[in-house]
Symmetry: C2
Subunit: 746 residues, 2 copies
């Protein structure tokens, strides 16, 4: 069909497809450009681009300082290859858009500059390397630009835009927060600074203003929570002393004995509790109020930005659909319409993989009165219609029922199937899962327990087979049957791994640790299924599963930030801290190979393995910094081995990652759950559902929920007790709208 499609049809299909996937590429309308545009959007072109972006990013693993060192020539050749691919992709894009549009788009300029910078840096570094001069590969920082700026990663760009829009608002709050921090630091300096206090460790306490600011900033993150207050002990002693002196001065006639008894009888002057008030006030104001304020500002902007974004998208979508309509319209009476045949060809082009029956359903919705054409209003809905995942459930009789109908319909078989369909079947297996959990927790050594593992595996396999026997296999493994797929994969992977392990064990007399690990994890994962049995949990789990794709966006965002900070971190701190095995004889092995760390919390915490010596270690350190706890130990450790301003690196990371990105992530989860709590079906979804019900092809929701699996998929010749054919099902088909995340969150 696609071969005979006219140029207009191809162009219109491109518009509709753009509208469907929210793409906003202003392509040229020449035949060649449209052809190139189709090629540009092919899945393999996009996948290849992503592949090379990640290849380029992962070069950091192989370049000095490397996790797996490769020769410079190899990495630079790969980098040049990646840059060539990026350039090619960009040229491809240039071919399909208008020249002035292309040059106005900052994305393209960014990519070109990044390519140029990378090449220049590579050339300089290579040249200097020949003369053995060590220089810095600074261009590695620009690599995440490719991830951000290629048109495919629209969502990451949107997240960055969201951050950019939040910045002005958050800056004000941040300044106020810094002001509060500086004020409290000044107070701390005045209250504690000039009294020669010592920490519990005997180090000077709260002497230097900048030190205090840093300590209190860390206290905001609660990372040094009780410790920073611990020199109360010292304060108390000194104040006790001062109190005694004051008693001497005020009542000179008291004997020394009397003074001591007086001051010991006066717990009212246990000042330390009063000084704790300082820290309590600080924590309330800065940790609780200001940190909530940051969340409030980020969340508020996130919501506002989301609204604007949706408005823009809707406008863009409508414009594209109107262009498509204008290409295909024909006059019909007083209005312009699109003929049914044309519409069908268009849908086939745009969505080649939807079934005929699904297409028929869409046509029935668009052409409500079966007039043979689609008017403008219905046509504009097409992109939204295509976006709604309608599950076509083909009502087929069970293949076994066709191959050996006598056996399949025998009384035993009927009974078996009714047992499987019974609610007790699910409950039985829930109990089995719980027993299995106990067995997993028990010791592995006893042979009975390892035999029990085989029993459980067998039970699970029987369950799956019984379900496939009862329900139609193609329905059981339908696109949206997440839990069925999950079960089957987990069980068969566990079966394979267990068999492999047993074979290995019987041949080599030794468990392979890695396979065992996988077996363990698979066994535990099996237990997740029990969650699915409880309605309330299922709702929460479904929301969580629905937001996973968008969470990947935050994964991308985090990746970009981590990459940049890891590369800077490696330049700043590479090799300063080394890890030695516990019984090493290297000099300063206990101080991570650096005498500057002697007696530091970093060395005492045995954190030497957390260093910036390669890309993987850097990522782990940054992950630990994201989790916040003990980050001051890292900051102080690395500041000790380089210079004090190195702390700024850690503070910057905290601001970017924890205050901004984690808060955006929290906002996203909040919004996702609020949407889920107050979910109303969109207008288009309602229209489709209505039509499905009108056509009598709907799945009874209750029946579905009650029976847990798709009972109604049984062929009509299979007697349905109780329900008694409420509606004729004309085409042996039922439709159901898949529950999906809210469009705005995708």
């Amino acid at each position: 069909m696609a071969e005979v499609a006219s140029q207009e049809l191809l162009l219109a299909a491109a518009f509709v497809s753009d509208a469907q996937y929210n793409r906003n590429i202003p392509f040229k309308t020449s035949p060649e450009a449209v052809r190139l545009y189709y090629l540009y959007n092919r899945w393999f072109m996009r996948t290849a681009t992503y592949f090379f972006i990640f290849l380029n990013l992962s070069l950091a693993v192989f370049e000095e300082p490397a996790v797996y060192p490769l020769p410079f020539l190899a990495t630079s050749l790969v980098e040049v290859l990646c840059l060539l691919v990026f350039f090619g992709r960009l040229m491809h894009f240039a071919k399909i858009t208008h020249r002035n549009v292309f040059w106005k788009d900052t994305k393209n300029i960014c990519i070109m500059v990044a390519i140029l910078l990378s090449l220049t840096d590579l050339a300089i570094y290579g040249a200097l390397r020949i003369y053995n001069i060590k220089s810095v590969r600074w261009s590695r920082i620009v690599r995440p630009i490719f991830l951000i700026n290629f048109a495919e990663s629209r969502q990451i760009r949107r997240a960055f835009r969201s951050i950019r829009n939040t910045l002005p608002e958050i800056t004000y709050v941040f300044l106020l927060f810094m002001f509060s921090l500086l004020m409290f630091s000044l107070m701390a300096l005045k209250l504690f600074g000039e009294r020669n206090l010592q920490t519990a460790e005997g180090l000077p306490y709260f002497r230097d203003y900048l030190e205090i600011v840093f300590d209190l900033y860390v206290l905001v993150t609660t990372a040094n929570s009780p410790d920073v207050m611990m020199s109360q002990l010292a304060i108390q002693n000194i104040l006790q002393f001062i109190w005694k002196m004051a008693l001497f001065c005020l009542f000179p006639r008291l004997s020394a004995q009397q003074v001591i008894s007086l001051s010991s009888r006066m717990p009212a002057f246990d000042f330390s509790s009063w000084y704790a008030l300082f820290f309590i006030a600080f924590v309330i104001v800065n940790t609780y109020i200001f940190m909530s304020l940051f969340l409030a500002v980020v969340y508020n902007n996130y919501k506002k930005h989301l609204k604007n974004e949706i408005r823009t998208l809707a406008y863009m979508k409508r414009r594209k659909m109107i262009e498509a309509f204008n290409l295909l319209k024909e006059e019909e009476g007083t209005q312009f319409v699109v003929r049914e045949a044309m519409w069908k060809q268009l849908v086939k082009l745009v969505a080649p993989d939807i079934s005929n029956s699904h297409r028929e359903l869409l046509l029935r919705i668009s052409d409500d009165e079966q007039k043979g054409f689609i008017d403008k209003k219905s046509f504009l809905q097409l992109a939204d219609l295509l976006n709604i995942q309608v599950i076509t459930l083909k009502i087929r009789s069970h293949p076994l029922g066709q191959w050996m109908p006598r056996v399949y319909r025998s009384a035993v078989s009927q009974f078996l199937r009714s047992v499987v369909r019974h609610r007790g079947f699910v409950w039985t297996y829930d109990v089995i899962i719980l027993i299995n959990a106990v067995f997993i927790a028990l010791d592995e050594e006893s042979p009975y327990i390892s035999y029990a593992e085989w029993v459980f595996l067998a039970l699970y396999i029987i369950e799956i087979l019984l379900k496939v026997y009862t329900y139609e296999p193609r329905a059981f493994f339908g696109k949206n049957q997440f839990w069925n797929w999950f079960d089957t994969l987990i069980i068969f992977a566990a079966l394979t791994a267990t068999i492999l392990n047993t074979t290995l064990k019987s041949t080599t007399k030794y468990n392979s640790q890695r396979i065992l690990d996988i077996v363990f994890i698979l066994r535990v994962l099996r237990l997740i299924r029990i969650v699915d049995s409880i309605q309330r949990f299922r709702v929460i789990m479904n929301t969580l599963i629905n937001i996973v794709p968008t969470m990947l966006t935050f994964g991308g965002l985090t990746l970009v930030v981590y990459c940049i900070f890891a590369i800077i971190g490696m330049e700043l701190f590479h090799g300063k801290i080394q890890f030695f095995p516990p019984n090493s004889n290297a000099p300063y092995a206990l101080e991570c190979g650096n005498p500057a760390l002697k007696d530091s919390l970093f060395a005492r915490g045995k954190y030497c393995k957390n260093n910036f010596n390669n890309f993987a270690s850097s990522f782990i350190v940054l992950m630990e910094l994201t989790v916040v706890n003990q980050w001051h130990v890292f900051a102080n450790g690395f500041a000790n081995v380089t210079a004090q301003p190195a702390k700024l690196y850690f503070i910057a990371f905290h601001i970017v990652m924890v205050i901004i990105i984690v808060n955006i992530f929290v906002s996203f989860i909040l919004e996702a759950f609020f949407v889920e709590y107050s979910l109303e079906k969109s207008e288009v979804e309602t229209a489709i559902e209505q039509k499905i019900q009108e056509l009598g092809m709907g799945v009874q929701e209750e029946a579905l929920q009650d029976e847990q699996l798709l009972d109604n998929m049984e062929s009509p010749d299979n007697d349905l007790e109780g329900e008694g054919g409420t509606k004729a099902q004309p085409k042996g088909l039922v439709f159901k709208i898949a529950s999906k995340p809210h469009a705005c969150l995708q």
Copy 2:
């Protein structure tokens, strides 16, 4: 006026006053009951109740284990007194309500049971004490019930209701969270448990299932973040060993040398990085997703509950107002109305302290067309009208202008006043504050700097005097001039303290540390004023100041939870851990007096001072537990000295305080700021403003903002340059609606 008020009027006034303050007390309508009801609501009765509630709560400070020990007789007498007061208050309440209403209200039953329990316990404890048998004062736990259940603390009750309503929803999420925790723990047991791993400290690592669950629960709060992963080191070594063994087994023909070189050349099998994935997955799922989920659930319920609450309040208010209307209504033509005279008497009774002009304004709003009566619709608005804080700005000429008009209006005086009114004046003082900040941070020792302090004090006092000279004093110290009050108080307190300190120093040659501390704090607080100069900061600050009263509710909530946990904690852990001064000779001084703490993190962290030995210490420990960091050290420490299940106490506190109350607090701040961001004036407020503008008595908002202080308050005889009397100001009065927090947040 109140003496001649009829019974109906008194009753109606009680209804209106109830509606105004959102009270919901179903009192009897008999003359005596109404009289008692007025007495019941008097400020001194309410204050006295609060006083005795807090007295009762603070008894914990004086009872064993005491901060300030008092004899048992004294504390028990005070307690009996408090209980008598509570009983009296309850009887008073019983007198004014119907009997069946009284006995249906769980609040009253609660209070009576609490009084009975307290008395019983007191009697038993006292009796046992005579025979020297030590028993537990278990009834102390019920004391917070008085704070919650007395009708005055409506807001705390509302917060508790909010928590109760959130519980079912949060329980589901919590169960899912626990399920995830247990699953991950099982996985950890399987992955790490059976390999004889050791922590960096050489202790067994991840062996016992319950230990793992606790460790991972702590990891969710990020308190033990990098440390719990640290035995990766050990894992790595063991896996390296296993890998070598596997190589031996798989390729038996390799020489030992070859195996070692192979395994050392294979950094690909640095398993530790792969195991870090376990922890990363754990932190993402449990710390980031589930903790956000808790916030989402709490916030969602908080919003929903707030909406219901407001709806109920509005209904209750309307009902009360209708009852009041029915009491006072008279027939006028076809409808029932309230006569103006009656209305005025009513308003005087309900709000005796509002000015005549303000009452006139309200009348003009209610009786729009000056018909001499108020119809039902307008009457029902009265409670809302009274709730809106209208600031009556009396336009008076400056008292100096009246006393010595010639001097006050002289050219010098005029110039001075225009200087003070100039924006540069504010800027100059901002610069002075900044310079002052630098001086504060500098060393105190130099005499020049201590002289500078006097200069700054003088400058600030001059500023206040100038402002009072320029603006009308009564307006300058108006009710809503928060910053003026703040400035003046801070400056005069600092002045007093500095003078006191200097006197003390010159007589006793010794600084009093406490006075110095106060001086320091006052000096630093002075700097806050600079925030007020920047518009954007002022908005945020105003929101913060507006929500302070409601934050006190959370203070009450926290107090209740702290009290209960402190009392339980003291019973469980009292005396188990002791603090000794650093150079004490007591046995086990380094182990907090308890050999069970030998080598524990608790003793090594020098946390001995954090114990449950008295009420104040308990509060500080609970505060540190609220901040979360290092809480596992506390939990382990106290579990070591008592029994392992003691950890449950800490987990319970974490769930109640951090997961529920902190999240409600965050929800409250989020909501407060969203309301602030999208603040629209209520219907009634708009009506008042309209009326104020109509009457030409409004303050130009812009003029106010520009001039920073209330310029328009100058009497009209004072020439206003530029503005040129845009509107006649008939009564020498202007009104302004005070910005106030959203009603629903109060």
